[in-house]
Symmetry: D2
Subunit: 133 residues, 4 copies
C-alpha cells in the first residue's frame, strides 16, 4: 500500500471563478479541495472514478475554510492536500493554498463513504492511511 499522504497540485485561477470584488470567489476553494483529493488518490495509485463505478461514493460530511488573503484571476496557486486522519468510517483531509509561497487559505474536511443506496460503508482499504483497529 502506498504511503503517499500528501500531494501538491498547481491550479490557475479562471476568469469565471472571479467575482465583482476582483477576487477568486470563496465557493471555488471547495472545488479545488476536491481536485486535490482526486489527485492525491491518483498519486497513491487509486482512482475515485473507478471507486464510483464499483458503487462506493465519498461524501463530504463537514468542511471548513479560513481565508487569509485573496487570490485573483490568472494567479497560479499551489494546493497542498494531506490526509490528516483515516478511521474505518471517516476520512479527514487538510488543505493549504499558497501563491509564490504565501499562505492564502487553509481548509479541513471530513468525508464518509456510502453505497448507491446512501447507506454508510466502511472506508475502503485502498485509501492509504487507514489506522489499524
Amino acid at each position: 500500500m502506498s504511503t503517499i499522504l500528501q500531494h501538491d497540485l498547481d491550479i490557475r485561477v479562471r476568469y469565471a471563478e472571479t467575482d465583482a470584488m476582483g477576487f477568486l470567489h470563496h465557493s471555488n476553494y471547495f472545488v479545488f479541495f476536491e481536485m486535490g483529493r482526486t489527485e492525491l488518490f491518483r498519486a497513491q495509485g487509486g482512482s475515485y472514478r473507478v471507486m464510483e463505478e464499483q458503487g462506493l461514493f465519498l461524501v463530504v460530511v463537514k468542511i471548513e475554510c479560513h481565508f487569509k488573503a485573496p487570490a485573483r484571476y490568472d494567479d497560479l496557486l499551489t494546493l497542498t492536500t494531506k490526509i490528516a486522519r483515516v478511521t474505518p468510517v471517516k476520512l479527514e483531509h487538510e488543505y493549504e493554498i499558497r501563491r509564490n509561497g504565501e499562505l492564502l487559505t487553509t481548509g479541513r474536511s471530513t468525508l464518509a463513504c456510502i453505497d448507491r443506496n446512501g447507506r454508510v460503508q466502511r472506508i475502503p482499504e485502498v485509501i492509504p492511511g487507514l489506522e489499524s483497529e
Copy 2:
C-alpha cells in the same frame, strides 16, 4: 395537452455569478436557460425530474447566446423561455433576458432525448408543441 408554449421567470443575479469585470459571467446564461426550460415544463404540467426518474434525459445538442448589454450583481432579470419548434427528435427553445424591459440577451437551443444508455429516443409526447407527423 397544455398549450402553454412560453414562460417568464424572474432571476436575481447572485454575487458568485459575477466576474472581475463586475458583470454576470456569460457562462451563467446557459444555466438560466436550463432553469427556464424546467419552469416552462412545470407550467405545462410536466416535470423533468419525473421524466429523468422514468429514464428519459433531455441533452443539449446545440446552444447559442447573443449578448447585447451586461447584467450585474443583484439585478432582477426576467427570462422568457419559448418553445420554438418540436419535432419527433428535436426540441428547440428560444430565450430572451430583460432587465426592466431592456433586452440584454437572446439565446436558442436544440435538445434531443436519450435513454439511460445514451441511445436517442423520440421526444416524449408529454412535451407540448409536438408537431403531428
Copy 3:
C-alpha cells in the same frame, strides 16, 4: 434601526448545481449562504450592492458547513439565515437549510469589512445587531 435578525429564503436546486452522484454539489451551499446574507440585509432595509458602490466590501474570513442529508435536482429548499454576532470588526452568521422541514445542512461564517484597497474597516452601523461597545 431594523431589528430583523433572521430571514427565510426559498431556493430551487438547479440542474447545473447537481453532480454525478445525483446530489446538489456541496460547493453550492456557500453560494446559497451568500444569497441568504444578501436577502437578510435587504429585509433589514439595506443593500450590499449600494454598500459596495460606496466602497465597502464584506469578505468571508472563515466559513464552515455540516452536511446531514443530500439535496437533489428540483428540490425546493428553505434557507434560514441568522445574524449570530456582530462586533465592530466581525459579522457572524448561522445558516440552516431544510426541505419540507427536514434539516439537511447547517453552516456558520465570519465576515470582515474592507475598503477598495483591502484595508480592514469597522463593520458599518447599517448592519443591525451591532453590539454597543
Copy 4:
C-alpha cells in the same frame, strides 16, 4: 508580432463540473473556451490580466457550442483554440474539444473590446492576426 494562432490545452474534468446525468454540464464548456483564449494569448506573449489592468476588457458578444458526445468526471480533454478572424472591432475564435482524439464539442465566439466605461474600443494591436485595413 507572434504568428501563433492556435493553442492546445489539457483540461481534467472536475467532479463539481458534472451533473446528475453523469456528464460534464454544458455550461462549463464556455468556461473552458475562456481558458483557451487566456492560454492562446499567453502563448502569443500577451496577458489578458495585464490588458485588463491597462483598462481594456474583452467581452463576449456571441457564443455557440455544438455537442456531439458527452464528457465525464476525470476525463482528460484537449481543447484546441484557434483565432478564426480579427477585424479592428471583432475577435473571432473557434474551439474543438477532444478526448483521446475523438471530437466531442465544437464552438465559436465573437468578442469585442471595451474600456472601463463600457465604450467599444478597437481590438488592441497586441492581438495577433489583426487584418491590415
